[in-house]
């Protein structure tokens, strides 16, 4: 039953911005779906490709939230390190036949509780559309991806909506 599907989302939240933004969403009592669970990381630049893949293998979508580019990273440039890594991973996933939209990178500051809640709601809806994820027997949506098409700015985690 399509309507019953509640996507499992794992979030990696950097301790300075993403995690604090999530706290701000709480302090502001903003509501979002409970299917998201998070891990606090020191910096988005700490997140490894293998960890994102491990999280994806156990869920339907992975959210990564770090400090705004260019200058907000508490550790100078961890956000750019993360951006490069995630961009490459998304290209790789596309070639593997996995929809890169299952991984979402966002810059969310400590004050952006509203953005955090919005991103979680949006991402949950998007992953719901994509259906359950299975690394081995991919969902039907997965096979529709054109392997040669370019990644959009939004897929990379750019500032399309800002």
């Amino acid at each position: 039953m399509r309507n019953e599907f509640e996507p499992r989302i794992i979030a990696f939240l950097c301790q300075w911005c993403g995690y604090q933004g999530a706290d701000m969403a709480g302090t502001s009592r903003l509501k979002y779906p409970p299917s998201i669970v998070s891990i606090q990381v020191p910096c988005s630049g700490r997140i490894e490709t293998k960890q994102i893949l491990e999280a994806l293998s156990k869920s339907d979508g992975v959210l990564i939230a770090g400090c705004h580019t260019p200058n907000d990273c508490h550790y100078v440039s961890g956000n750019f390190k993360c951006l490069k890594r995630v961009t490459l991973l998304k290209k790789f996933l596309r070639h593997m036949g996995v929809n890169p939209a299952r991984i979402r990178l966002e810059w969310i500051s400590a004050t952006e509780g509203v953005k955090f809640a919005r991103v979680v709601r949006e991402f949950t809806d998007e992953v719901k559309e994509l259906g359950p994820f299975d690394f081995n027997g991919k969902s039907s949506q997965e096979t529709k991806i054109k392997q040669d098409s370019k990644l959009s700015l939004k897929e990379i985690g750019g500032k399309e909506n800002e």
Binding site: R8, I10, W16, C17, Q20, A22, D23, A25, G26, T27, R29, L30, K31, Y32, P33, P34, S35, V37, S38, I39, Q40, V41, P42, C43, G45, R46, I47, E48, K50, Q51, E54, A55, K58, S59, N71, D72, C73, H74, Y75, V76, S77, G78, K81, R85, S109, A110, T111, E112, A117
Partner: protein, 663 residues
């Protein structure tokens, strides 16, 4: 088998973990079934004790933890409660008190990231169980760590020389520590130096401020750098390295004897910044007589003498006897090592040109509140009795417009906090000078929230006979020498059209225009309104997100002088809390290298933003006091030779399993 060869690894099974689930009154308990969390978490093999309680952070709550540590001989514990930003330190202190290493305590955030954001109790409870389990998985793999002790520079940097920066610098200097006070402008004093009198007591601003400015000038512990800007800030708490750009003054303050002969001879006349454009100054000038440093300066943008062929009269020996004028003065780069930083960069007024319908940029008699303040000042351009800029006549009818730009979605949505009270002050002071004046004050709501402010406003309304009109002004324009004001009186529910001689706009307070640039140099954050963001509004209202950097005054939010001074002293006391220590603690959650695995490829060195990794004997070595624990090297290492203490790959992996219910 030789037992000496087997490395004993602390396995998760040896751990005895306690879990304390907080109700937080109803904050958590309404949405999370805490009893079920307790039941479920007890099924975890490492958990030997679990209980729930109303407020775990309270004294009796902490005693529950202490009791369990003692009786159940816990090796670690989890508090499932609010965000670690709030009480992680509190609970880690409990661990320390009972002989546990503070890193054997972890927090599961089931309030901000669970009970407050979800409504479905069943699902929120499931999530709380997962979050708590994942915290258990982390804590059983946490190493016992002790803080790394580092020396510190016992010196403070204060950025901004307004009343906030002055107060903070004096407090720190009086306690015996050296302070570098950096001011962008040619004098300290900030906006307060421009004010006539201060509400609600009507003290003369100069009488309160100038003695403090003088104290700064003569304080043996304060090094004052005016015309100076922060270029960059490196380092960390206790050990900041700051580069400051000091622009040339072209006049040596040590030699200048304030004779004013240079001003008399200077042929260039421009409008005065200190008088908000209402008077003129020369290219060589002193902002105001009580300026600190007490010296003239040359404005290089307008001075003709920058080209020696064109001018340079003021430097001639018959004009400047002490030879204080020096056209060869150069920009200096000053480097300072400091332990703490106080940011007190203050505010600016919102640009009235952005509000075209009020015509402040078109009509000379529509002025800003700060201009009116200069007109009221006995030392100002009108020598104490405000006159209309257009014809120098004393106005008989004045309109004060509140909330110009503030509480307005099109401009600044926030309340600027001080305008209601200072507009009342303006009306009162003007009424005292011109008793037959007719004064209108247009307001949305009166917000007079400081001590004795309400009494003050009432006094203005009742005794001074100022007409308070509740409603917004839609348009202001000048016609036939009169200022016409269109608005609405929302209490009488009718349109208003009045003619006055002068209109004064209470513009909203905005942060200094270059605050974002400065904030990014220091890695501190900006809030949604553009002001500096404090670490926590109630628990850490003075601290920024960067340890050792504190906030004071209107740079953090619009505030009056009372609150600014209070916050500045608070920032100074926080700074002193660090400066008085012999050693400060550096986080021990740093990177560590397994030299057996390290191939010496140097990738980690290239990504480390702190130059904390060196190659020693072809192996990476982390200099722990420089490492900030970001983990960039960990995720880059192709050999998995580097790991971050208490955030290892194994920990992340087991936390992931717990989060999806595999454990």
């Amino acid at each position: 088998m030789a037992s000496t060869l087997t490395t004993h690894k602390k396995g998760p099974t040896k751990e005895k973990i306690g879990v304390f689930v907080c109700h937080c009154g109803r904050n958590i308990a309404t949405t999370v079934d805490t009893k079920r969390v307790v039941e479920e978490i007890l099924k975890h093999p490492a958990v030997v004790h679990a209980e729930d309680y109303d407020y775990v952070c309270s004294s009796p709550g902490q005693e529950l933890i202490e009791k369990a540590i003692k009786e159940k001989r816990l090796t670690g514990f989890i508090v499932a409660a609010c965000s670690p930003s709030l009480h992680e330190t509190t609970f880690r202190e409990v661990a320390k008190r009972k002989g546990l290493n503070p890193y054997k305590c972890e927090i599961a955030n089931i309030r901000e990231q669970d009970s407050w954001v979800h409504e479905d109790k069943e699902k929120a409870t499931e999530k709380a169980i997962k979050l708590t389990k994942s915290a258990v998985e982390k804590v059983i793999r946490n190493e016992e760590l002790e803080p790394i002790k580092v020396g510190l520079y016992k010196k403070a940097l204060v950025i901004g020389g307004g009343i906030a920066g002055i107060r903070a610098a004096l407090d720190i200097a009086d306690a015996g520590f050296p302070v570098v006070l950096v001011e962008k402008g040619p004098t300290i004093g900030g906006h307060m130096a421009k004010l006539a009198e201060t509400f609600p007591t009507l003290d003369c601003a100069s009488c309160i401020l100038t003695p403090l400015m003088s104290a700064v000038a003569h304080h043996p512990n304060i090094k004052l750098l005016t015309l100076s800007e922060i270029m960059d800030v490196e380092g960390y708490l206790g050990n900041f390295h700051v580069r400051i750009k000091k622009n040339p003054r072209y006049v040596d303050p040590e030699k200048c004897n304030l004779c004013n002969d240079c001003v008399d001879i200077c042929p260039v006349t421009v409008s005065s910044e200190f008088d908000e454009g209402l008077s003129l100054r020369k290219a060589i000038y002193i902002p105001f007589p009580q300026a600190v440093p007490s010296s003239y300066l040359i404005d290089p943008d307008t001075c003709l003498g920058m080209n020696p062929i064109a001018c340079g009269k003021c430097a001639e020996p018959e004009i400047c006897g002490p030879e204080a004028v020096n056209f060869d003065d150069q920009t200096e780069i000053i480097e300072e090592d400091v332990g703490v930083i106080v940011v007190a960069t203050g505010y600016e007024l919102y640009n009235p040109e952005n509000i075209g319908e009020y015509g402040a940029d078109k009509y000379p008699d529509v002025i800003t509140s700060l201009q009116f303040e200069r007109l009221l000042s006995p030392s100002g351009p009108a020598v104490g009795i405000p006159k209309r800029p257009s014809d120098e006549k004393i106005p008989k009818r004045i309109a004060f417009i509140h909330c110009v730009g503030s509480r307005d979605e099109r401009h600044k949505p926030y309340c600027s906090h001080i305008c209601c009270t200072y507009s009342a002050k303006h009306a009162l002071l003007f009424k005292e000078l011109v008793p037959d004046a007719d004064i209108y004050s247009f307001y949305i709501d009166i917000r007079a929230v400081g001590k004795n402010y309400e009494d003050f406003i009432r006094r203005v309304q009742e005794e001074a006979g100022v007409h308070y009109v509740r409603g917004k002004v839609s348009r202001i324009y000048e016609q036939d020498g009169k200022v016409k004001i269109f608005g609405v009186d929302t209490l009488l529910n009718k349109r208003i059209e009045i003619e006055v001689d002068m209109a004064v706009l209470a513009l909203s307070m905005v942060p200094a225009h270059d605050i974002e640039d400065l904030a990014s140099k220091m890695r501190i954050q900006i809030d949604g309104s553009g002001f500096l963001q404090e670490l926590h509004p109630k628990l850490h209202p003075i601290e920024s997100a960067t340890s050792g950097i504190f906030l004071a005054g209107a740079a953090q939010s619009p505030k009056d002088i009372q609150d600014t001074v209070a916050q500045a002293s608070a920032a100074a006391s926080k700074a002193l809390g660090i400066l008085t220590q012999e050693k400060i603690s550096h986080i021990p959650t740093v990177a560590t290298v397994d030299t057996d695995l390290c191939s010496g490829c140097r990738l980690c060195i290239s990504v480390c933003p702190y130059r904390a990794i060196n190659l020693v004997d072809e192996k990476a070595q982390v200099e722990e006091v420089l490492c900030e624990g970001c983990g960039a090297c960990v995720s880059t290492c192709p050999s998995d030779a580097i790991s971050l203490r208490n955030h290892t790959d194994e920990q992340v992996s087991s936390m992931l399993k717990a989060l999806v219910g595999e454990i």
